[in-house]
């Protein structure tokens, strides 16, 4: 081989190894994300991540789809314990205390530096921040967040002689309308239920709508005390149980989450409560004219928030933490947040996202998208405590015992409170 040619190859090889060395110096981030609703959520996250990476060649983001919320927190905590923690992840907002106790995450206050970034923290809806802050620090940035809303079938309202544009606004109206909307066939079997409030898996979430409307919060802000046996909680549970047992406007027993939209589409139920994350699904599949409203009020209006936050993991270098923060700032910025919200139905987490031209055009075309956002004014923190999964399971077990008639609401709630106290006493 000719000497100069050899030299040329050597130079190319040297240049290649040099550029590779530079690439290795770039920041590598691993990002776990869950998908809780059907549709385009996973595609949209990957699309946004690629867009960010294209604009920031020095940052490499490995976006890992990690399954359900439950799988994602399991996966992330297992990785932390194994010393392979991701740098950032979207995890349920209610798992904040668990992540703090596992010493897995850092507070955003410790990562941000400039005043501009401090102002950025204040731009999110306060209702979403309730589940993101404790002890004066911010641990999570709202992203994949929602509230439950009420969908109603306008055709069914017309058939029942109700005004199709007026959803029930109070607990009493829900019962009154529900009785008119419950239809039985000749042999006395129900062919259409008045209302459907699903209760499988995580009944606490929609129940928290009722407890909030009865003007009581389920847990304190320090995450170490629950109010399950509060008389107002018991009263709210009694109302839920009465919908089936006394008023006969809702199917008895545990009602499945997964089949709730289908039951609504098929006319099995005239009203359903479910996440605003189902909005796009209902819009595409309901064969009738439907409406979306805030949950009805009792002592006050109310709903819990729900969904996932961004967290930054402790076991990362300073560069990685800074890059993670930059990515989170970018993806929650108005333009990206609007894109995400339009694709999924999740509530864009900050007010300025709703001022973008894309978002304005979307809500002008489809006003129900505004309901969940407007409801934020009345929303409270989702039930979140230390040992959250366990406390929530105890509470769910209690709710299920009452819904299935195995225990009275009072017995079930007193029992749940006692069990929760036993676990949370170590944190007071």
């Amino acid at each position: 081989m000719h000497f100069t040619k050899k030299l040329g190859i050597g130079a190319v090889a040297a240049a290649m190894s040099l550029s590779m060395a530079q690439a290795a110096q770039a920041v590598d981030l691993q990002f776990f994300f869950p998908v809780a609703v059907g549709g385009k959520a996973a595609d949209t996250i990957e699309e946004l991540t690629k867009e960010y990476a294209a604009a920031h060649p020095d940052v490499k983001i490995d976006a890992v789809y990690a399954g359900s919320y439950q799988n994602t927190v399991t996966k992330a905590l297992t990785a932390v314990r194994g010393g392979q923690a991701p740098q950032l992840s979207v995890i349920l907002s209610v798992d904040m205390f668990t992540l703090i106790e596992e010493d897995a995450i850092v507070a955003f206050d410790d990562v941000i530096k400039s005043d501009e970034e401090k102002a950025w923290l204040k731009a999110f809806y306060p209702a979403f921040m309730e589940n993101s802050q404790t002890g004066g620090k911010t641990y999570g940035i709202p992203f994949q967040r929602s509230t439950p809303v009420m969908y109603w079938n306008k055709d069914a309202f017309k058939k029942a002689g109700l005004d199709p544009n007026t959803p029930p606004a109070t607990w009493a109206e829900l019962v009154e309308f529900g009785k008119k909307l419950t239809v039985k066939d000749a042999s006395g079997n129900v062919t259409q239920w008045g209302v459907r409030i699903p209760s499988s898996g995580f009944p606490y979430w929609l129940f928290q709508g009722l407890s909030t409307q009865n003007d009581v919060v389920l847990a304190n802000g320090d995450g170490n005390k629950t109010n399950f046996s509060d008389p107002k909680v018991i009263e709210a549970l009694q109302y839920l149980v009465d919908l089936s047992a006394k008023h006969k406007i809702m199917a008895p027993g545990i009602i499945e989450w997964g089949s709730t939209p289908k039951a609504f589409f098929e006319g099995e139920s005239a009203i359903m409560w479910t996440s605003t994350g189902n909005l796009t699904n209902v819009r595409n599949n309901a064969p009738f004219d439907f409406g979306v409203a805030m949950l009805p009020a009792n002592k006050r209006r109310g709903a819990p928030t729900g969904g996932g936050n961004f967290y930054i993991f402790k076991d990362s270098t300073d560069e990685q933490k800074a890059a993670s923060l930059d990515f989170i700032k970018w993806i929650t910025a108005p333009k990206q947040a609007a894109k995400w919200s339009i694709a999924t139905g999740y509530v864009a987490p900050r007010a300025d996202a709703w001022e973008t031209p894309e978002m304005k055009a979307y809500v002008a075309d489809f006003p129900p998208a505004l309901v969940a956002r407007d409801q934020l004014e009345f929303a409270v923190a989702e039930l979140s405590t230390y040992q959250n999964q366990r406390i929530t399971t105890i509470f769910n077990d209690g709710l299920e015992a009452a819904i299935t008639g195995k225990a009275s609401p009072e017995e079930a709630m007193n029992d749940a409170q006692q069990k929760a106290d036993k676990i949370l006493k170590d944190y007071r």
Binding site: T98, E101, G253, E256, Q389, R390
Partner: protein, 293 residues
Amino acid sequence: MGSLSNRTWIHAWLFLSPAMILLIAFTHYPAAVTLFHSFFSTPRGKRPAKFVGLENYETMLADSTFWTVLGNNLWYALGTIPLSIGIAIAMALWVDSKLKGRAFVRMAYFTPTVLPLIAVANIWMFFYTPGFGLIDQIRIPLGFSQQNWLGDPDAALNAVIVVAIWKEAGFFMIFYLAALQTIPTSLREAAAIEGAGRWYFFRRVTFPLLMPTTLFVSVNAVINSFRLVDHIFVMTEGGPDNASSLLLFYIYETSFRFWDTAYASTLTVALLILLFAVAIGQFLLLDKRVHYR
């Protein structure tokens, strides 16, 4: 002499070592570590584990969920094991005899075994869905009202048991089918000459000859009744109010949802003791009766 026996020893250990290493690494060592962890509290990021003695065991004995789950698991074992074995024998006898389309029937019986349990659970979810599920589609025109099988604490566990039987019986059938085909035809001919009826022949000849298979299958069935929980994840998540939760599902929940690994270790020790007792019982009691004499 001495050197020869030494070499024999070395050979013996060499032959034993592959299996032994695997057994120790993946069975005995984890079991010992689990037992060790059950005497400590759960380490969390901000609190290291500390020795707590028998506290976890005291918690377990006072844990009403543990007793519910244990009771559920015993009922689940009682419900699945005899029924799936009985159905397996019946199906094996049926597809062993000369009937038209035998291969097709065999395949149909075996299909549930090939399907992953998660897929099976999803199929059954469609059957059980109140209102528009398959079962209600059949029941409602007959004048029955809607039934929420998986949402009713009295029905949920039984609904899950049905799925397990559906899945297991076809698997066990294969073993019985193989065993039936090893029974010499001369026995049947001799019985025919003696004038024995079909039921008499089954009771006195076929069934005793199937006993070694029954032992094998029943050991498997017991293990499966404590091991298979995948369908619980899909169908009920142990609900409502733990009505369909099983011991292994509760261990998973405690360990990976509640992150209480110490208590999960304690529950695992309880499961190990239970399985150990069942295995001893099966071998001591059944082994003597298995072989036809």
